[in-house]
């Protein structure tokens, strides 16, 4: 008894010592690991903050646009000298509207019409897009010719940049796009309260333009929307059908293994490859139009399919087998089991995968380069067959512009794109939180 009592205590003492042994070191290693983890997160966050600060600080000004509100005299002398507008409607279209705008600004400031330099400076204050703006006013209501109406005109891009302090005004006058005369006129306009900075709706509604003040994301937004619709219509049904078959019906053999490997591989193929494929198949073989969102959408569908298939299969697999056996047990057929019991439970996962796939497709530029969507497109597309661009493409195009006013617009466009991506990803998270069931 004493022996047996002694024996464990004799053995326990060294065991206790061994348990103590290295405790400090293990604690230290855990502390180190935690420190590494926090450092990694801090570095990641720091990059994110740098990114956001640089984009937002450069881009927030793009959401306001310098505008000049002056009474515009729709002079009959300039627009329709010989009073032909009743017989020849083209007269109103081809009239010299920039001159109307220039005279309006000059008259408002009381500039002597014989002072050529001042008149030119006044004309350069307003955007050339006033041609379209004033023309639309006249075409909508031809009776306005000969009358005066107060119109808010866009300031030209350089004036806009100068007003926002983006042009260095301390350098010699010859070295900047804005002359001292223009600045003087701008200040006079400001004193008279004609200069305003309204929200820049044009950034979201205008098409591409060579003039920064009238350049917008309209065509790109519609193009991206069309492409996302095509991707959704094409890749969601195909992807879901393919994964249901592979997961629930197909026999597991070498052939299905091969398919699985291929799908996983496709998900990792660089997107430019899909662009090449799109050019060869959709444009050169099927003869579909260049620069059209339908082709872009089909190309992006090919790219999104593997993502959707992988997500859907994972969602199907996460449905517990008990649901399947219970359904079969009460006499459901295999099809009924899949569509009535398994699929509804997998829907949140499928939707999340689809939205993440779409978000990735929304940010793609490379495959669009080869099918002609990296382009200058000014007209709004009416359907997915007409030329359009996409949001990231527009950002890329604006990056390459020489004018200063495009710098802020590039960042502004990035903010818009980020907002869309954030909305999509938040939707994915909300859907998952809401409908996900835990077992």
């Amino acid at each position: 008894m004493t022996d047996s009592a002694l024996a464990p205590s004799a053995m326990a003492a060294p065991a206790a010592q061994r348990r103590d042994f290295g405790l400090k070191r293990r604690h230290a290693s855990e502390a180190r690991f935690r420190f590494y983890g926090i450092t990694a997160i801090v570095i990641g966050l720091a990059f994110l903050i740098i990114l956001f600060v640089s984009i937002i600080s450069k881009g927030y000004t793009a959401f306001v646009q310098t505008s000049i509100t002056v009474p515009v005299e729709f002079s009959e002398q300039i627009i329709d000298k010989n009073n032909e507008r009743a017989t020849d409607p083209l007269k109103l279209r081809a009239a010299n509207y920039p001159l109307v705008a220039r005279n309006a600004v000059a008259a408002f400031l009381g500039i002597d019409p014989t002072d050529k330099a001042a008149m030119k400076a006044a004309g350069d204050l307003v955007s050339d897009s006033s041609r379209v703006q004033l023309r639309e006013i006249v075409q909508a209501d031809p009776s306005i010719v000969g009358q005066t109406r107060t119109v808010t005109l866009l300031a030209s891009g350089d004036i806009d940049s100068a007003n926002k302090g983006q042009i260095d005004l301390s350098v010699a006058e010859a070295n900047r796009k804005v002359s001292d005369k223009q600045l003087e006129l701008l200040n006079q306009l400001k004193e008279k309260g004609a200069v305003s900075m309204p929200f820049n709706w044009g950034l979201l509604t205008f098409g591409a333009s060579s003039r920064p003040e009238s350049a917008g994301l309209g065509v790109a937004l519609i193009g991206s929307l069309f492409m996302m619709l095509v991707v959704l219509i094409v890749s969601l049904p195909i992807g879901v059908a393919a994964s249901i078959y592979l997961e629930e019906f197909a026999r597991k053999n070498r052939f299905t293994d091969l398919i699985e490997v291929n799908i996983n591989n496709l998900a990792a193929v660089p997107s430019i490859v899909f662009g090449l494929l799109g050019l060869a198949v959709f444009i050169n073989f099927f003869g579909m139009p260049r620069s059209a969102p339908i082709v872009g959408g089909l190309v992006l569908s090919l790219m999104t399919l593997p993502t959707i298939i992988i997500a859907t299969r994972a969602a199907l697999r996460s449905v517990p087998p008990s649901i399947r056996t219970a359904a079969l047990g009460v006499g459901a057929s295999k099809t009924q089991m899949v569509f009535d019991h398994v699929l509804p439970l997998a829907v949140p996962g499928i939707l999340t995968g689809t939205i993440i796939g779409l978000a990735r497709a929304l940010g793609e530029t490379a495959p669009l380069l080869l099918i002609g969507m990296v382009a200058f497109v000014a007209d709004m597309p009416q359907n997915p067959l007409q030329p359009a661009t996409a949001l990231p493409v527009q950002i890329f195009m604006w990056t390459n512009e020489a004018e200063r006013a495009f710098v802020e617009r590039t960042s502004g466009a990035i903010i818009v794109l980020l907002v869309f991506l954030a909305i999509m990803n938040i939707t994915a998270i909300v859907l998952r939180r809401r409908f996900e069931r835990r077992w």
Binding site: L90, R93, A94, D128, R131, V132, I167, D168, V171, A174, N175, R176, K177, G207, A208, S209, S210, R211, V230, I233, V234, L236, P237, I238, V240, A241, F282, I283, N284, F286, G287, M288, P289, R290, S291, I294, L298, F339, L343, L369, G372, V374, A375, F376, V377, A378, D379, L385, P387, M397, T399, N400, E401, A402, E403, R404
Partner: protein, 340 residues
């Protein structure tokens, strides 16, 4: 779910069948990124001025890529116009003809100056082509022997220059600008007789003249001038190569260098005084005229004095207008349908 499957099948079938049936009603242009800003201004104004035609679609991607697309064939799914910052090469024209694009109309619409510029705070640079050649060539003739370029600072090349490390941002090899840089600057600064005397084979002399050092002192920029500008912003002692129009739009950030004592400007390039300039082109597929609505009108509009004349929007952006006689000749040649 079934509905969705049928819908997607219908979309694919529709897309496949429909593509061929749609007639294109807008002009498709592709090519040089140097010509892109000009083409955009013309396309936009064209769309605003002509009510019956849509605004042309202008793709960018570089002169070479544009010409390659242009030469893929004739048909509505092929582009109508290729923009180029250099003239079409003989082998490119050959490949055009093999693909059935037999009638190509060449249109020269103006000139572009190429300038050297430093950060706005930098000192004045008065460059001669030979300075650039000495600073950037891969191999130089020293004491009658061909050696690797030994210079590391600008003031070693020319004592008038500042003691900056050599860092030049030059257009990459896919750019049309590179060719101009080679022929107008490197060639002009290169002493061919000395190279031959140093034992370079006659056929290799030009190649040796054009070879740029690869030790990191000359950096190829494959992107656009905005990338060059960003490099200069980051490295205040860098020297960059820009288009004249790009420089004029950013003259508050850049200081331009004189070449051969001439300050680059629209006037000095137009008069031929400033040596580094090149013509800008676009190529029109004659077979598409009359098929694609507005193509003829677009080209005529592009060539009108309203667009490329001395007081035109393109000149304001930085295009160097061609002399009056040359503009008239270009219009007449297009009207007559002259092909290459």
């Amino acid at each position: 779910m079934k509905v969705a499957v049928f819908a997607s099948a219908a979309v694919i079938a529709l897309a496949a069948g429909m593509g061929a049936a749609v007639a294109r009603d807008q002009i498709q242009v592709a090519g040089s990124s140097t010509v892109l800003p000009y083409a955009k201004i013309v396309a936009e104004t064209f769309g605003e001025t002509y009510p019956d035609f849509k605004t042309p679609v202008v793709e960018s991607g570089g002169s070479g890529a544009g010409i390659k697309q242009f030469c893929e064939g004739v048909g509505e799914d092929k582009i109508d116009i290729a923009n180029s910052s250099r003239s079409m090469k003989a082998d490119e024209l050959e490949s055009c003809k093999t693909a059935g694009v037999t009638d190509v109309q060449e249109v020269k619409f103006g000139y572009d100056g190429i300038v050297f510029a430093t950060d706005i705070a930098g000192p004045d640079f008065a460059i001669q082509p030979v300075d650039i050649y000495k600073a950037l060539a891969a191999k130089l003739v020293m004491d009658g022997k061909l050696v690797d370029n030994p210079y590391t600072k600008w003031n070693e090349v020319n004592p008038a220059f500042p003691a900056w490390d050599i860092a030049a941002y030059i257009p990459g090899e896919k750019h049309g600008t590179r060719e101009v840089f080679e022929t107008k600057v490197l060639d002009a600064g290169c002493d061919k007789a000395a190279l031959e005397a140093a034992g370079v084979a006659k056929d290799d002399v030009t190649k040796t003249c054009h070879a740029v050092r690869k030790d990191g002192k000359a950096v190829d920029i494959d992107g656009d001038y905005t990338e060059t500008l960003a490099r200069i912003d980051a490295n205040k002692t860098g020297v960059g190569v820009f288009g004249l129009s790009f420089y004029e739009n950013n003259a508050d950030k850049l200081k331009v260098a004189t070449v051969g004592g001439v300050v680059p400007s629209v006037d000095s390039v137009a008069s031929g005084e400033y040596p580094v300039s090149r013509p800008l082109f676009f190529y029109v597929k004659k077979a598409h005229i009359g098929v694609i609505p507005g193509l003829k009108e677009y080209v005529e509009f592009f060539l009108s004095d309203e667009m490329v004349g001395p007081d035109s929007p393109l000149a304001e952006y930085g295009l160097v207008p061609a002399p009056d006689a040359e503009r008239d000749a270009a219009r007449a040649a297009f009207e007559a349908g002259t092909t290459m």
